[in-house]
């Protein structure tokens, strides 16, 4: 069971990141062009974008994933 939950957590994190990146794409372009953006900044940026995924409870994560899978395409 714990393995399942970690897996679905990862899946949700990935979905969340994809969603955030898409919704904020315009601003992220500006950040990428900022002076202080370096190659090393990428992991930090990813961490920053993804960290909010923890704000969703396990059941909420499950519901979003389920809907996303059934409606894809």
């Amino acid at each position: 069971m714990p393995q399942d939950s970690t897996q679905s957590q990862q899946a949700f994190s990935a979905l969340y990141l994809q969603r955030v990146t898409q919704e904020l794409s315009e601003d992220l372009d500006k950040v990428r062009n900022a002076d202080d953006f370096k190659v090393e900044s990428v992991p930090f940026l990813v961490h920053a974008l993804q960290q909010g995924a923890q704000q969703f409870s396990a059941s909420q994560q499950g519901a979003v994933l389920k809907t996303s899978e059934s409606r894809q395409g």
Binding site: V20, E23, L24, K30, D36, S41, A48, V64, T67, R71
Partner: protein
């Protein structure tokens, strides 16, 4: 030792070679003396002789094991041998440590720094010597550090050119010096290490150039420092502190950006990773000795002034407002080294720095407020740069750190709440002020607004946790805590944006940004849930927004992949609508153009009963059911469950087109019920009037409701306008709904309504199944059924969780620490204060407390000082001086006989301290009683509790002040019960009996009852307390009676837990005999055994 070293290479090889060729039977001889054995076992190149020796030794050992022959003689020989070969400590055979060699070593080491060909080999030699024979000589070599450590500081910093991993031949002087030093650390015992580390500058030389060392050396340094210094618990914190000061930590931190052009990238990365792990270990593990145990959100108490302030804060809420401001200049902390180090980190530009800092915060929460207060220069002004994102990420991670249990200090938690400002800074870090957050929320950037939204969500959730901590257990009724909770919420509300800003931000989010909108709607909901005073002030009309979300969910042309988020958004908005009194649930509007008007309530019902929904939408279901019950559409017993079951089944049975005819009818019925309930209530009454049932049964009727009545009433009106297919669907739905209700409970009224419907339908020759004939299939309805059951069960489980009280909770609820630590400084300090200050600052109380000290001389000093203080007060111009003088003098006279033999009875001390508060305030209801008590007798009897009789048995001084007096009395009595001596007074004079009798008063308020339970709990903490209470005062039966009598499940669990504690702490064998085993039956009944 020279001999032994030669064994190594050649000897071993020779041994192996010969072993293959020699097959002689080993010979052996009897050993008679230790010296003989030593000779036999001395190293010999000749294999035969060597084996002879070993065989002889084996024979001796066999003798010892088998026990044949003279075992003790053989053991004696062995012991003699071991004595002979024991390494000698006088250094005669350690030729290296002899004066002549030492001098030349020192000379070599101090050679000109260009002569590395001399220095390096010497250092290697020393290193070998240190590690020789498991470090047997390490101590001696370090002892001779005047020679062996000559110029070590300098050598630790000589050159690194040509350094190469694995090739120690070319290693620099520094590398050799470092390895020598590390070997010393590794092979010394804790005491030696301490001595070595005390050479402060050496440690500094060791780390000074660490950034330019080759990777293998850096790794070795960090490993050794970790295992041989930090993890060595015998090295004192003080020494570790000196070594790992901010400077050292900064040098390790510099390794995060370690570069080395000649090394492989993986090695370089290993160094930076290792440095990170090292710092994480140093800064977050208490066992490493650098992290100091701290008191969480309670700031370090710096000096006595501070405790006085604290004491003041206890008494008045206003005092603490002033006190809060005092932290604007800094929060005193235990971990000052970490605080200094934290300030040097750059969490906004490096993820590792950010991780390290948040890990430090987690390990020492006291640093959170301290850090942001000390580092205010870095602002959070929104900018689309990596630095801003980095800072935002760091702040978010900081906010995610949970509040420590009991706010970090159990003892101070039991005394009162932590300072509001510190708590607030933990919930919402200082850089997040109202102005900045509003700017972040501006519609100019989705990114900053998204980040700010997430942070506010985090802050509100944390705030709600903090409020919960303020309201749990006894704190719910404690004025200090309620006041603190109010202050916290007020301060929080001042720090966050107004509701209108949040609404504006929500409105400005593009509709395709489903996630962002979900988060923003969650934030709106949290405003309603946690700080409704702010939310409701904004007059926010949520209906247009949730209509638009509904629309996008139902709009077939839009992208549905992220409906999961949209559904969550919808749930949030619907929950908000549940909070808004102005929400028009039943007025019909055009939600999707071309589909006709529909009320939001029905639109949501459609969504809930739709079969293609994967999300459970619990929240939505709950809000709709609440609305339906509130509008009396359905009974509170069934809620919407039968209705949803019928809808779900209908949708499966009928085509969407057919359902399109059912929905408007239901919509109409629902809105009629909601808009004119009185009319339908009358009709409902008429159905019931025929029925011969009592009112109680009607109220509990689980199936009959207004909606049923409205359906029956409205049905004839649509018969004419609906086609046959539509009527068939309608009849099918009605039969399903009534059957579902019927299944819940058979009711005559329901039958009557149903037969009316049957009549109506028959008039148009539409068929309908008989009542209860439709099968409400479990499999079909399981989805909704389970969900609702889940909801209910969830609620119950929560309830159960709250009601079980374990030992920790019991302690938290009832345990009051015995006393605060002795403040002996007061013996001197009071002299400098004026009489008014003495009275106001609580110095008198501190002085009186010293009478309970374990030390005779402190008690004596306290007694003398009390007399002096009494005289000083009497000489002053203070208005109430006589009473204070009298109280202190009587206390001193009563205590005098006890001071020499042990602590003064707690009752004297507790009475005096609590009487002080009364004397300060002439309006106190006990003022007259205390004054007359003081004038009654110059000395108090140690066998009595002062004043207790007057309060418990005398008339109250004013009629309505009885409970106020009791409250004062119970607090005083609790303080008067600390030692076995006190217990004996309570026992002999039957005070327990009186207190328990008081507790049997059914009208006693909760807080007074809690005080009584605290006294009982206190007694169970004292030796033999539980046994006395059980066998002399029937405590267990009393508790059980209270448990049965109380209605609140939490309280009854508390009694149960207290019974458990009394049983656990008593002399069980004695109690068992006393009760003739009845006690076990009693405990068994309440499931404690």
């Amino acid at each position: 030792m020279g001999k032994r070293t030669s064994v190594d290479a050649d000897g071993a090889a020779a041994f192996r070679k010969r072993q293959k060729t020699t097959h002689d039977v080993p010979t052996g001889e009897d050993v008679n003396t230790g010296e003989q054995l030593q000779r036999l076992l001395a190293f010999d190149q000749d294999m035969r002789r060597a084996r002879h020796g070993l065989q002889s030794f084996k024979r001796l050992l066999d003798n010892i094991i088998s026990g044949d022959g003279d075992r003790s003689t053989s053991l004696g020989i062995l012991r003699e041998y071991l004595e002979l070969v024991k390494p000698r400590h006088d250094g005669e055979d350690a030729s290296l440590v002899q004066d002549r060699q030492l001098k030349s070593i020192s000379k070599n080491l101090s050679s000109d720094k260009t002569k590395s060909f001399i220095i390096s080999p010497t250092l290697r030699l020393l290193r070998e010597a240190v590690s020789l024979d498991g470090g047997a000589y390490a101590r001696k070599i370090v002892r001779a550090r005047a020679y062996t450590f000559a110029s070590l500081g300098r050598n630790l910093e000589i050159g690194i050119a040509g350094d190469n991993q694995g090739d120690s031949g070319k290693a620099s002087v520094r590398t050799n010096a470092v390895r020598f030093f590390l070997s010393c650390l590794r092979y010394l015992h804790s005491d030696g290490r301490k001595e070595l580390l005390s050479q402060k500058e050496l440690f500094s030389h060791l780390t000074f150039m660490i950034k330019s060392d080759p990777p293998f050396l850096v790794l070795e340094i960090l490993d050794t420092l970790k295992t041989c210094v930090l993890a060595d618990s015998k090295i004192s914190r003080e020494i570790k502190f000196k070594c790992f000061n901010t400077k050292t930590l900064m040098r390790v931190l510099a390794l995060y950006t370690y570069t080395n052009s000649t090394e492989a990238e993986s090695e370089v990365e290993r160094v930076s990773e290792k440095a990170h792990q090292f710092l994480m270990y140093v800064c977050t593990k208490p066992s490493a000795g650098i992290l100091y145990p701290s008191t969480g959100l309670y700031p370090k108490e710096t000096d006595e002034e501070f405790s006085v302030q604290l004491a003041k804060q206890k008494g008045s809420a206003h005092g603490s407002v002033g006190k809060d401001d005092t932290y604007r200049d800094g929060v005193p902390v235990y971990n000052f080294v970490l605080s200094e180090f934290a300030a040097k980190l750059r969490p906004w530009s490096s993820m590792k720095h950010s991780q390290l800092l948040t890990a430090i915060f987690e390990a020492a929460p006291e640093l959170i407020a301290n850090y942001f207060l000390n580092n205010q220069s870095f602002t959070f002004e929104p900018k689309l740069t990596m630095t801003w994102i980095g800072y935002a990420s760091f702040l978010f991670d900081t906010m995610r750190i949970a509040l420590p249990p009991s706010f970090g200090d159990k003892t101070r938690f039991s005394r009162g709440p932590p300072p509001t400002q510190i708590l607030l800074d933990n919930i919402l870090p200082l850089p997040l002020n109202q102005k900045v957050i509003i700017r972040c929320l501006s519609p100019n950037s989705n990114l900053t607004s998204f980040f700010a939204t997430r942070m506010l969500i985090e802050a509100l959730e944390k705030l709600s946790m903090a409020i919960k901590l303020h309201e749990e257990a006894f704190r719910a009724t404690d004025a200090q805590w309620t006041e603190a909770s109010r202050r916290l919420i007020d301060a929080f509300c001042r720090r966050i944006p107004d509701m209108k800003e949040i609404v504006r931000s929500y409105k400005s989010i593009p509709s395709e940004n489903a996630l962002h909108k979900t988060m923003a709607s969650k934030l709106l909901l949290l405003y309603y849930e946690i700080i409704p005073q702010i939310a409701l002030a904004a007059n926010f009309d949520v209906s247009p927004f949730f209509v638009s979300v509904l629309r996008s969910l139902q709009d077939e042309s839009s992208d549905h992949q992220h409906d999961g988020f949209r559904e969550m958004e919808l749930e949030n908005l619907v929950s908000i609508a549940g909070y808004s009194p102005g929400m028009r649930w039943f007025s019909r509007i055009e939600i999707i153009s071309g589909k006709g008007p529909c009320s939001p309530f029905v639109a949501l019902l459609k969504l809930l009963s739709g079969s293609d929904r994967t999300a459970p939408l619990h929240q939505l279901k709950k809000v709709l059911a609440d609305v339906a019950v509130e509008n009396q559409l359905v009974s509170a017993a069934t809620r919407l469950k039968p209705f949803l079951q019928a809808l779900t089944m209908s949708i499966d049975e009928n085509s969407p087109d057919d359902m399109d005819k059912v929905w408007p009818f239901l919509d109409n019925c629902l809105s009629r019920c909601a808009t004119s309930p009185i009319k339908y209530l009358d009709v409902l009454q008429s159905y019931l009037a025929d029925e011969n049932v009592d009112v109680q049964a009607t109220a509990e009727d689980r199936s009959f409701n207004l909606l049923v009545v409205a359906i029956a009433e409205q049905l004839p009106f649509i018969m004419e306008t609906t086609d046959a297919q539509g009527l068939a669907s309608l009849s099918s739905f009605i039969s399903l709904y009534f059957s579902a209700l019927y299944k819940k409970k058979d009711s005559d009224a329901l039958k009557r309504v149903y037969s009316k419907i049957e009549e109506t339908l028959a008039s148009c020759s539409v068929k309908i199944a008989g009542l209860g004939k439709r099968k409400i299939s479990k499999s079909l309805t399981s989805g909704s059924q389970e969900d609702e059951n889940d909801d209910q069960e969830g609620g119950q489980n929560d309830g159960e969780k709250q009601t079980t009280v374990d030992e920790g909770k019991l302690e938290e609820a009832l345990h009051i620490p015995f006393s605060s630590p002795e403040d002996t400084a007061v013996l001197l300090r009071w002299h400098a204060k004026g009489v008014e200050d003495l009275v106001e600052d609580g110095l008198i109380a501190s002085l009186i407390r010293l009478l309970a000290s374990e030390h005779t001389n402190i008690r004596k000093e306290a007694l003398t000082n009390i007399l002096k203080m009494a005289a000083k007060i009497d000489d002053s111009a203070y208005e109430e001086k006589k009473q204070f003088w009298l109280l202190l003098s009587e206390l001193a006279e009563s205590s005098r006989p006890h001071v020499d033999s042990g602590p003064v009875p707690s009752a004297f001390i507790a009475f005096s301290i609590h009487a002080l508060d009364v004397l300060k305030n002439p309006l106190h209801p006990l003022y007259p009683k205390i004054n007359s008590f003081l004038t009654r007798s110059p000395v108090w009897s140690p066998e009595k509790l002062p004043l207790a009789h007057d309060i418990l048995h005398g008339e109250p001084s004013e009629d309505d002040k009885y409970y106020t007096e009791i409250a004062w009395f119970l607090t005083y009595i609790l303080d008067a019960l600390k030692t076995p001596f006190d217990l004996s007074i309570f026992h002999k004079k039957r005070w327990f009996e009186k207190i328990l009798a008081l507790g049997s008063n059914p009208y006693l308020r909760v807080n007074l009852r809690t005080r009584i339970l605290r006294i009982v709990y206190r007694a169970t903490c004292i030796d033999a307390g539980s046994t006395t209470l059980i066998t002399r005062f029937g405590l267990l039966t009393w508790l059980d009676a209270q448990r049965v009598a109380c209605d609140v499940p939490e309280d009854s669990e508390l009694y149960k837990a207290l019974m458990g504690r009394a049983w656990k702490t008593c002399d069980q064998a004695r109690v068992r005999t006393w009760s003739k085993n009845g006690v076990e039956t009693l405990l068994g009944d309440v499931q404690l055994q």
